[in-house]
């Protein structure tokens, strides 16, 4: 117990928690926007892979770090558009389409990577995003390391939380997005296009997911590996339900998950002799299931989630 307390009091632990939470923040926000508008996006796992591969490769080819981020964003949007076309105007099964997008996005990323780099055993590295160094702030005790020595992408994620919260709760656009997810007929009656709002929500949400992937190759690591996303997308789908589709709670959920993951890594090094390391590796996935179960019963699902809507049919 003392060990855990000691860990919880260090600034490096909290800095790691926020770092681990960053891709999840992007992912949960993306999934949240899709689901708020009425569409489940199980393409998330594959879109993470696409973001990770494309962002990294664009940077490696000389587009610069922010150029890479833009490429990842656009690639995520592209796969989101496919999912949007299949699930919104065509109204096809959101489960199957999402899984199809995940398989498609993952395999096309792997194929492209292998084709571009046929015979490399250790992948080429890029110069990733560096921790910010803000005069005075970065040198503050505790807060300095936790908040002000993160990379720009972590800050972008935090800004996105505010932005998504603001759009959803304080603008007419947000009202429309929530309405198409709850009662599309009411939106249609006001003369707005249900199709357009839902499709844009999926496209933008998917683009955000891809940024989560890009964080992995451009900030957390400096190269692309097969299997590096490793279920992070699915964790986000669980966290959205835990967050009951609210951006603020999504941030808290991602941070809790990040803290838990950072804790298990540290406990693993301290208690590795007593317990097999795999017990700790399993823990984050178990935690996601527990979070899902706790939240599921009282979950206030967007009412039109999973329900296709066709114009002119009531």
């Amino acid at each position: 117990m003392i060990d855990i307390l000691n860990i919880l009091l260090t600034d490096s632990f909290w800095a790691a928690s926020l770092r681990i939470a960053t891709p999840l923040i992007f992912g949960v926000l993306g999934a949240l926007i899709c689901e708020r508008s009425g569409t489940l996006n199980l393409g998330i796992e594959g879109i993470f892979v696409v973001g990770a591969m494309c962002g990294w490769m664009a940077t490696w080819l000389g587009a610069g770090l922010w150029g890479g981020i833009l490429v990842a964003f656009l690639c995520g949007a592209f796969f989101g558009l496919i999912h949007a076309l299949l699930t919104v105007p065509l109204g096809l099964s959101q489960h199957v389409s999402g899984l199809g997008i995940t398989l498609f996005a993952t395999s096309i990323s792997y194929f492209t990577y292998r084709t571009a780099l046929p015979d490399v055993s250790s992948p080429p590295r890029i110069e990733p995003f560096q921790p910010l160094d803000i005069p005075i702030l970065s040198d503050l005790p505790f807060i300095g390391l936790v908040l002000f020595q993160q990379t720009a992408l972590t800050w972008l994620a935090l800004i996105m939380v505010l932005l998504v919260w603001y759009v959803l709760n304080r603008t007419n656009l947000g009202l429309a997005i929530k309405a198409v997810g709850d009662n599309p007929n009411s939106v249609d009656a006001q003369g707005l296009s249900v199709y357009a709002i839902r499709m844009w929500a999926i496209v933008i949400g998917s683009a955000l997911m891809a940024l989560g992937g890009a964080f992995l190759t451009m900030s957390a690591f400096d190269a692309f590996f097969f299997g590096m996303v490793n279920g992070r997308g699915w964790v986000c789908i669980a966290l959205v339900i835990f967050a009951s589709w609210r951006p603020g709670k999504a941030l808290i959920g991602a941070l809790l998950f990040g803290a838990f993951d950072a804790l298990q890594v540290r406990l693993q090094t301290e208690m590795g002799a007593l317990v097999p390391g795999q017990v700790f590796l399993m823990a984050p996935y178990v935690l996601s299931i527990v979070a899902l179960v706790i939240a599921a019963r009282s979950a206030d699902y967007p009412r039109a989630l999973l329900t296709p809507w066709y114009k002119g049919q009531r």
Binding site: L42, L103, F111, G231, I237, I289, L292, V293, A296
Partner: protein, 358 residues
């Protein structure tokens, strides 16, 4: 203006032709990545065909690859019919394999006539166990089974790695994370001498035929369809939905477990953490291509296995990444999904169709 209207009924021919067209389109699509990799697609297709049908050995390899896909395809098809989204076949496959090596590698030194059936039954049970928690959490707490089964895949694979470095590790294995081999009398007998295709394929086909008759001609099959198509009506008809769901879940998990049994006791002989190159996920594609029909699962498995084996052999001959196979498989899933739309709906120009909805 054009508008989309549902058809009165889906024609029988379209349920057969749509998957075929989807398969052809996905193979044609493969030309794009082949050209972008700098190769001639025609030569690549010929290489693929040679790799699948060029010799008895090639066909044997393809059928060997199709065997686990039939099991996971059936697992997905049965679950999806009841709208139970079991995406956890990958994990359940490993549970089946764990059970197979646990009892099969010397724990019971029984003659083949007892040992192989024991391995099969326990492997299926282990796979079924993998569905107990997700189904209970769904029924009791409303926890989405898509997420729980997906996350369980990761948990089970880490659990397997733990076993392979601990209690299941082969003491003669020089420290590699692999299990002890299954006893000879616990292995599926080969179907052809000196070929890898084994009698697990026969088991898979028999189970597909049984599943076909159960779905078409039994009360259980009727309940399955009722629960999937309209669960509130099924409830009114006096069907115990939760019990039906549990039954479907256990069957689905058990079939996925058998995929692991057949891979480990039919092909590899021992268990490693990379036993399955995604058979669980490919099973979903198989089930969708099959239109959730068990007989269709056999045909779709042969197609998907051909893509994998063909792409492998083409990859060796031409140096194109074998991830091409995964690409073709995923495109075929998206194509069959769109094909299903075309079968169910027709596009009419406004004014020419019925104006019922306006």
């Amino acid at each position: 203006m054009i508008r989309i209207e549902p058809r009165e009924k889906i024609s029988n021919s379209s349920t057969i032709f749509i998957p075929i067209i989807a398969a052809i389109v996905s193979l044609l699509f493969a030309a794009i990545p082949i050209i972008s990799a700098g190769a001639n697609p025609l030569i690549a297709y010929v290489e693929m065909a040679k790799g699948v049908f060029g010799s008895v050995f090639a066909v044997s390899e393809m059928l060997t690859r199709a065997t686990p896909l039939i099991f996971t395809g059936l697992a997905a098809a049965i679950a999806f019919r009841a709208k139970l989204w079991n995406i956890g076949a990958e994990g359940q496959l490993y549970l089946g394999a764990i059970a197979a090596v646990t009892v099969g590698s010397g724990f019971f030194d029984l003659p083949a006539i007892f040992l192989l059936p024991l391995i099969i039954v326990l492997g299926a049970c282990a796979g079924a166990v993998g569905m107990v928690a997700p189904t209970y959490l769904k029924v009791r707490f409303g926890a989405d089974e898509v997420v729980t089964t997906l996350l369980l895949n990761f948990i089970i694979i880490i659990f397997l790695q733990m076993l392979l470095e601990g209690p299941l590790q082969d003491p003669m294995g020089l420290g590699w994370p692999q299990s002890a081999p299954i006893l000879d009398q616990g292995m599926f007998p080969p179907l052809i001498d000196r070929m890898r295709v084994h009698s697990g394929l026969i088991l898979a086909v028999i189970l597909a035929v049984i599943a076909h008759f159960m779905i078409k001609h039994s009360v259980w099959g009727f309940k399955l369809r009722a629960v999937g198509e309209n669960s509130s009506a099924a409830k009114h008809a006096g069907i115990n939905i939760n019990r039906s769901l549990f039954g479907v879940a256990l069957l689905s998990g058990g079939l996925a477990g058998l995929a692991g049994v057949s891979e480990v006791a039919g092909l590899k002989g021992y268990l490693t953490a990379d036993l399955s190159p995604g058979f669980g996920y490919a099973g979903i594609v198989v089930a969708m291509l099959a239109g959730l029909s068990p007989i269709g699962v056999i045909i779709a498995s042969v197609f998907i296995a051909s893509v994998f084996v063909g792409a492998d052999s083409m990859s060796r001959a031409m140096g194109i990444s074998s991830f091409l196979a995964d690409l073709v498989v995923s495109v075929s899933l998206l194509c069959v999904l769109v094909g299903g739309f075309i079968a169910r709906f027709k596009i009419v120009r406004a004014g020419t169709g019925t104006r019922f909805y306006d």
